[in-house]
Subunit: 274 residues, 4 copies
């Protein structure tokens, strides 16, 4: 019984390595295979959403979708089985996404029309970032993550400023422009302010009165200037990350000074061997 238990463990351990890790060849193959399946399933959902294709190949798409749903269900169950604490996986972001990608298919049996929720399967594309955990992209990925997470607090202050700004400017525009010109309510005007300040500019709503155009011009110039702020934040953070990457580990044993390049063999200040 002990050996059987061990065998069992071994069997689960191997599967765990294949499904959750990416160090072994089987693990990599599983990850790549999964990604291809995700891509294919999303492609089918995409094509099925086009009316003309749906009418021609609707049944075929339906069969393929159910096949993928079956595969992904098996994968989900395997993930639950081979992990020690299944609840941790279920509650993790990727676990929630994996479940979200399965539910719509089963829901569509009961509720007709909920099949369109299959579009949520696109969320599984987030697994693509697992590829970057392999090989040469690792350090670049880490660099970007460090730089962006380091600037998150500043970016959130910026975003809150922009949000306050669009609420105020949207309200002002609601007062200035006529209701007939698309600025029919404050939320609508705020939507317009966001479209304007981010320089998207659909043109579905645009100022018509001279006063409205004047206020809008003012807003655009503000938007033009403040777009520089997030760029400045991230660039500064990246420069800091790049500097740290190159330097901070090497301290000269002779004079104790830092700042040596990564390929330096001797201290540039006192010529001690590093």
């Amino acid at each position: 019984m002990n050996t059987e238990n061990e065998k069992n463990k071994d069997w689960r351990g191997k599967l765990h390595e294949i499904i959750y890790e990416a160090n072994t060849f089987a693990g990599k193959a599983f990850d790549v295979g999964l990604l291809i399946a995700i891509f294919a399933s999303i492609l089918v959902v995409m094509l099925d959403s086009i009316d003309s294709y749906h009418q021609k190949y609707g049944t075929l798409f339906s069969v393929i979708e159910w096949t993928f749903t079956g595969l992904f269900t098996v994968e989900y169950i395997l993930r639950l089985v081979v992990i020690k604490h299944p609840l941790n996986y279920v509650k993790s972001p990727l676990g929630i996404v994996d479940l979200l990608a399965l539910i719509p298919s089963y829901l569509s049996i009961v509720f007709i029309g909920s099949q369109s929720l299959l579009a949520l399967r696109a969320l599984r594309l987030m697994r693509i970032f697992r590829i970057f955990k392999l090989g040469r992209f690792l350090s670049e990925m880490k660099f970007l993550t460090v730089a962006i997470s380091g600037s998150l607090r500043k970016i959130s202050i910026f975003m809150l400023t922009v949000l306050t700004l669009v609420v105020i400017l949207g309200s002002v525009m609601y007062l200035v422009e006529n209701k007939e010109n698309g600025f029919s309510s404050i939320p609508e005007s705020i939507y317009w302010a966001i479209v304007t300040i981010t320089t998207v500019g659909y043109g579905d709503i645009s100022p018509v009165t001279p006063m409205g155009k004047f206020v809008a011009s003012f807003m655009m110039l503000i938007g033009y200037a403040i777009i520089a702020v997030p760029t400045g934040i991230i660039t500064t953070e990246m420069a800091a990350a790049a500097r740290n990457k190159g330097f901070h580990h090497q301290v000269c044993p002779g004079c104790g000074r830092e700042g040596h390049d990564q390929d330096a063999k001797f201290c540039k200040y006192c010529a001690t061997k590093l």
Copy 2:
């Protein structure tokens, strides 16, 4: 009477601490509570501006608005009472905003329609930046303020250049394009030039003649290049601010001044060994 005066002082002092400061628990609670009230009141004004909601819940919204107006009036009076120099508060930007947020409600009794000015209450959202004065956002907020205020003069030169450019290019476009294509006057053409150079591009006015399209293409490429300037300005300033931030821990033991480089061995002001 002396004790009563002291008590009175004490009572006013405590209220001052609650309303104007944010160091104590009561002060923080007041600030957060006020922000929630501001958010709620703005939400009501927003919803009330949507026609269908206004027709259904107009009376309810009216009651809530008057309740908030009452609360904010009490808050405004308290702010006047507990401060030593009430006029300083009245003349301060936040004081003006607080008053602007109150007036429309009272005006609406006399002038029907002025209620839409309630949208100005959105200006009170500026109080949100008081939150950042608390805790961990303080240094980030300070960093952004230093970098932006440090680049204000350069940004204003840039803005003046852009304004000159849009006046010139708008005038040229007025000459080049037909009046029927939306370029009906020079101010209108300048509005178009701003929409174009800031890359917003509503499309409400767009060049129609080949010559107009050629000039517009030229303008767009210019706009594409010069958007780099404010970004460059702010990034450089932020990099400088980030560098300074790195310095500020070193205090000279001789003269007590800060701001030394990280590789400095002697104080640059008094030559004391660091």
Copy 3:
């Protein structure tokens, strides 16, 4: 006669100082006065270009315009008289602009309709940059000029790349999209490509066929990425300009090392008095 000549010189010299220089009070006053006159004349031209105003106040505007034309003519003649080499002024950019601002008024006597060329008077706004030559903006102005002129060659390579790109992508789009959807000729398609790659996006021409939308999506993502290039160029150049500004003049007389802050009194490496 000698003294008269001297007087004459003196008289011309003084006027030269007032008109061309900005060091004396009179010189500054002349510059500011001239700018106000330019602003006012442009404002009149602007208002006159609005049909409803033109019909009401057309005659008044005409009188004001002729007054300004008279003033500017006197100014132009004075500039010719008080300068040693009048041809140099006539051939200088500002001289050409000053003349261009005068011609339309006189032309309008002969050719009816050429009055709209008055819009060219906006070019005279370029004189506004003379203000920055005064006082505190001088160093900021110089900083921006150095950084931008230093990056001109790189920016021009970038612009040529963008131009090549829009010609190629415009041609591809002309092949891909139907002529009925606005892509009626290659120049038209190139115009669309510029509108797209600069993220202006009027929407006067937009892809309709699936293939066209695919190619356009590709172009937009390219445009999204390459907008980073001019920003990078100018930021790097500005950082270099900022670094040079702070440092490069001070060399320690004791140890010969550079890199001292501008407010440093002692060398940070060897404590020698700077």
Copy 4:
């Protein structure tokens, strides 16, 4: 026969120098002449694509186009003849482009309508970058190439993130918005998501329902923030390239290697005093 062979070699060698190199006067002249011919041929194709010109000057354009096709055919054959390994040229990017520019003319004899493929001749504009290989632009060109190729891996991670994002957000929008409002299929919604997140914003498709506008606002603000990422990447890389550029004059007298910091006293590779 030996001398004839040598003569032959010499003749081919000289032509090779003229056609492929740009060091001699003849080589430069050939490059410039070729560029002018390319420009002229593209201009003719452009003008021919405009209907009104085509009807008037169609025959003339046809003659000029065939002349250029003849010239470029001769050039292509010469390039094949004078090079040692013709296949290498045929398979090189420029070789493929050169062939692509020739085929449409000859195809148009057999298939009517394929003449519009002549637009592909615009691809030959890529030869313009050969100019930068001459003279003063060389180092700037190298600088930009180093910086951009150094950031390619990071940019590709960013692009993949953006692509994942637009697929997810496009799918969400397909669920949220009505099919009648332009979000008729998932690919269509993804196209809209790209138009929005790159801030192009044609307005051919724009959200109509309140929920759709809310989701779109969210997307625009995301797009506003993440545009900072490629800029940050390229700026950091350029700053690094600029720093390296500053180093390259210091060559170690001991080992002859470059790349030392400006404050280095000893070679970091062999500890020789600099």
